[in-house]
Symmetry: C2
Subunit: 566 residues, 2 copies
């Protein structure tokens, strides 16, 4: 492509809307434009990148036995009613009516429609396993679309669904996808971590997220440098602690006027926050739940909700707190609490002579001991892991990081097949529900994540495998243009993808744009080196540069492309 | 792909929902399933065909200078208000609101959003011309979705938009696209006619439809076997006729009790319908229009609406007819009509001594002559062409045909650029509106049209260029399977796309499915020919068949593929 005729509208300034590097660079380098909040147009350069990412995905999905199909974006409401998700999805789902008043949604995901398809076509174990996938737009009406295409409302996903006869089959499909996902991201030049995650509203049991480590990421993970343990903080387990040494001392009430927060109480009493018991009240349906975590720990609401067995868990309001504890918020504690389900974190259970609220305004209790002063309904793991906590597998201190979730794989089990009656007959003629898995990759988000991992202060540094072009020829003047055109033709005809800067611009502008756009190999044709019969070749990554005679260029370029794996 | 693991759910019976061959065959051969009215899932075989059609389109669009982008499907209402089409599109547009109550539509087409994009990026003649295109879903809430993917509500389109500095540039872009479209359809194995068409609501002047001749088609066209003239009947011109010979005779009123239709009057008076003048009353805003066509001709409402300059043209109601003519419908005529705009077709103007309604119940007038008995406001071409009419270019009798519109190209001019302020500065620094064209191909409809043109009573006969696979290996028994697998590996590894029927089914079932699916080359491996050391090869089209030694197969297959242009 020649830049004089290409639609590559680069910008000198970063538009105010952009906050993170990938968003800024995609706008500045002419890859992306905003059409509405969370809705974007992909310009020619990003379309080329997307095509390459999709091709990598196709190859890996096909190699794993996947078959590509195309499901509707506009989906009838009835299917979603059958699984209950028409209601569960809430405001995140875009809904519409057709001219006859029938209700539809824009698919935020496709479990319902593909299960219904398979229900109609599969009746025997002989037709299984089946791995079906598609690549196309998904829709989620995010309350706060942000970071460009990182969290958009219209975005491209690859979603694959596996259909197996039993859990063992699902385990195999899951393992295949785990490997295929690792391959996809590696081939895209991404360093990812596969972390254990919580399956949340989608249902099912085992699930992994593939996370690109990046400071702008919204996922918080922990991982072990010693073993292979890695998990989303929502999911990460905390080991039970051994009970502390020491003898229980007599319970003692102390006055703590106006001291409500952990920090205030700890400082007022001159003790470490780790000695305190934090008592958090929640409402779920008609029940009040007290969750006890140590003063220096955070409650993990996802874990608590899973234990309670609800999707609807809300902090108790002021009125409930007063009614249940007899005191305002800040003075709640486990001793003497009535009609409340007491769920205690392992770390609290291990405390000897802890400090808790007295359920009385301006008062706390010293020397609180579980078993003597209060009885738990359940002792379990309800706290949020943090960096430094011991790895639940090997005990080494965990490391923490932020990341971008680019893919997630789920074992769904039979949730959808039972709701939509997708049964098959097994070898004995018995009817059984199909066992399902689902596997997503955010295609547009993958593109943005690649930029997050591959850029510098001057612009993008595309990995060869997904670069919009392999080579950027920068011709510095009219005299040099003839050679530039010659190399362009030569390279293009040998299958190399070339962007030719044939514009009538100053060298500074051309170099700035080349850095910004980030094509891996740059060939500069200028008067100075040309006088020596040479052109300059360099990698945008800075890993290599040199001068070559024009007839050596083609060979060297092919060598560089091959070595970079595209 | 092996049929034992492939998702190819063929059906023995044709589902009741299907009316036309392509729809029936796509359902039976396992290409397509219905998800809702006018909304479909594309199964693996049709996905493969779609990918090939899209690749052909991409190659031709790129060769013509097109650059691929991706525009949003969900589009903000504001842009559509700016061009007035938020209202004009009516019920055919799917509309929705986001969680904040903002209005959006699902793009039925993309003129608004791409013009707005270009408006933001293009400011100088140096950035033009520009040809931008995309391939993705479009949405139209058809009142009567039918014929499977032929007229769906969710369908795939390629749409390209051209941006030029002036009409001459647009003419060049249009000519490029005309050629590119001809190439695309030819490469897809389609025989199409490019016919002149009416631009209707989209605006603009010159437009061609690319029509696949097929009996199930909804487009009616005429074309000349002698010259290159071809047009949609809505657009096709009719030559003026020479005035008839003969002298005007005195006007005479005759009683025609209860004779209202052309047929009744002609038969009652014992004259040919061609002697009658049909007077049709229409309402447009506050005006009443009388359109006069010959008794044996049909009025072309599209032509009339264009002449009147309105999109809102409705037949006058009974009350208006009575008020304007003083008589009920069936007795209307031009003589003595007051406060009515009289638009007369050439063929009526040529009549000497015609017969018309007397504007009086149960009465007609004989010897009606224009100029003497009534004065026209306009004499022009308002009738619908029919087969046998003279070609407007060369006079040869036109032929008529039905067809499927698979593509349309439009000269839009400045309608959208002016509405959305997409201006550029020319060489003299003057601000001018960008001159636009738009060019669509129905991708999913193209697939269905290929089947309409390429099938027999047993199934589909795919052209090599768009076939889901090149070769179908039918292995007739367990003993033959080893050789089948060997050939499968051999062909696949040399880049040939092979479907292997490795199922445990009777030969009859396998042959029936092979005919149904319609892969171009079939290799049959059966005991009988294998005893002679041969396998059978044949083309689904019936053009060739023969027996070959297994080691000759690969060469012959490659030769056949090359000769069929894939």
């Amino acid at each position: 492509m020649r830049m004089t005729s290409g639609f590559i509208p680069t910008l000198r300034e970063t538009p105010a809307e952009a906050e993170i590097p990938s968003h800024k660079l995609m706008l500045r380098a002419g890859f992306l434009r905003r059409a509405a909040a969370g809705i974007y147009t992909y310009l020619p350069l990003s379309h080329r990148v997307l095509m390459k990412i999709m091709q990598i995905i196709r190859e890996e999905m096909n190699a794993a036995g996947g078959q590509e199909i195309l499901l509707p974006i506009v989906q009838p409401a009835e299917l979603w009613h059958a699984t209950g998700r028409w209601v569960d999805y809430g405001e995140e789902m875009f809904r519409l009516k057709d001219r006859h008043g029938r209700e539809f949604c824009l698919g935020p995901t496709h479990e319902e429609i593909i299960t219904s398809l398979v229900q109609g076509e599969v009746s025997s174990y002989r037709q299984l396993p089946l791995l079906l996938y598609q690549i196309q737009n998904k829709y989620r009406d995010e309350i706060r679309p942000r970071f460009g295409i990182m969290r958009g409302r219209e975005f491209i996903m690859k979603d694959l669904y596996s259909f197996d006869v039993d859990q063992r089959g699902l385990d195999e499909s899951y393992q295949k996808m785990y490997q295929a996902y690792s391959n996809v991201f590696a081939r895209c030049g991404l360093e990812t971590k596969a972390v254990l995650a919580d399956s949340g509203a989608i249902g099912g049991s085992l699930t992994h997220e593939f996370v690109v480590l990046a400071d702008c990421g919204e996922a918080i993970i922990v991982y072990c440098a010693n073993c292979d343990y890695a998990a989303n903080v929502e999911k990460a387990e905390c080991r039970p602690l051994p009970r502390e040494d020491g003898e229980p001392m007599p319970l003692e009430k102390v006055s703590t006027p106006g001291q409500k927060t952990i920090e205030q109480v700890a400082s007022f009493l001159g003790i470490a926050p780790a000695r305190l018991i934090k008592t958090l009240l929640y409402k779920s349906d008609d029940e009040v739940i007290a969750a006890l975590v140590r003063g220096d720990h955070e409650l993990n609401e996802v874990k608590l909700a899973r234990i309670v067995g609800t999707l609807q868990l809300a902090p108790a309001d002021e009125e409930t707190i007063l009614r249940v504890t007899g005191a305002p918020a800040g003075y709640c504690g486990p001793v003497g609490l009535q009609n409340v389900r007491l769920i205690v974190d392992h770390a609290v259970a291990a405390l000897v002579n802890g400090v808790a609220g007295a359920n009385e305004e301006d008062a706390h209790l010293l020397n609180v001991n579980m078993g003597r002063d209060y009885e738990p309904d359940l002792v379990t793991d309800i706290r949020l892991v943090k960096a430094g906590d011991p790895c639940p597998k090997c005990g080494t201190a965990l490391l923490g990081a932020r990341g971008i979730e680019v893919g997630q794989i789920f074992q769904l089990g039979t949730k959808y097949s039972e709701a939509l009656r997708a049964y098959y007959l097994d070898e004995k003629g018995e009817q059984k529900p199909i066992v399902m898995g689902c596997y997503g990759i955010g295609v547009t988000r993958t593109m943005a994540s690649i930029i997050e991992q591959h850029h510098d202060e001057h612009g993008i540094i595309w990995p060869m495998s997904v670069a919009p072009f392999h080579v950027h020829i920068v011709s510095l003047g009219d005299k040099e243009l003839a050679l530039a055109e010659e190399l362009y033709e030569q390279l293009t005809s040998s299958g190399v993808e070339v962007l030719l800067d044939d514009r009538d611009e100053r060298p500074g502008v051309k170099f700035k744009d080349a850095d910004l756009i980030g094509i891996p190999i740059r060939i500069t044709i200028g008067a100075k080196s040309l006088a020596e019969g040479k052109v300059e070749l360099k990698l945008r990554s800075g890993e290599w540069e040199g001068k070559l005679a024009p007839d050596e260029v083609c060979g060297k370029v092919r060598e560089l492309i091959a070595s970079k794996g595209a």
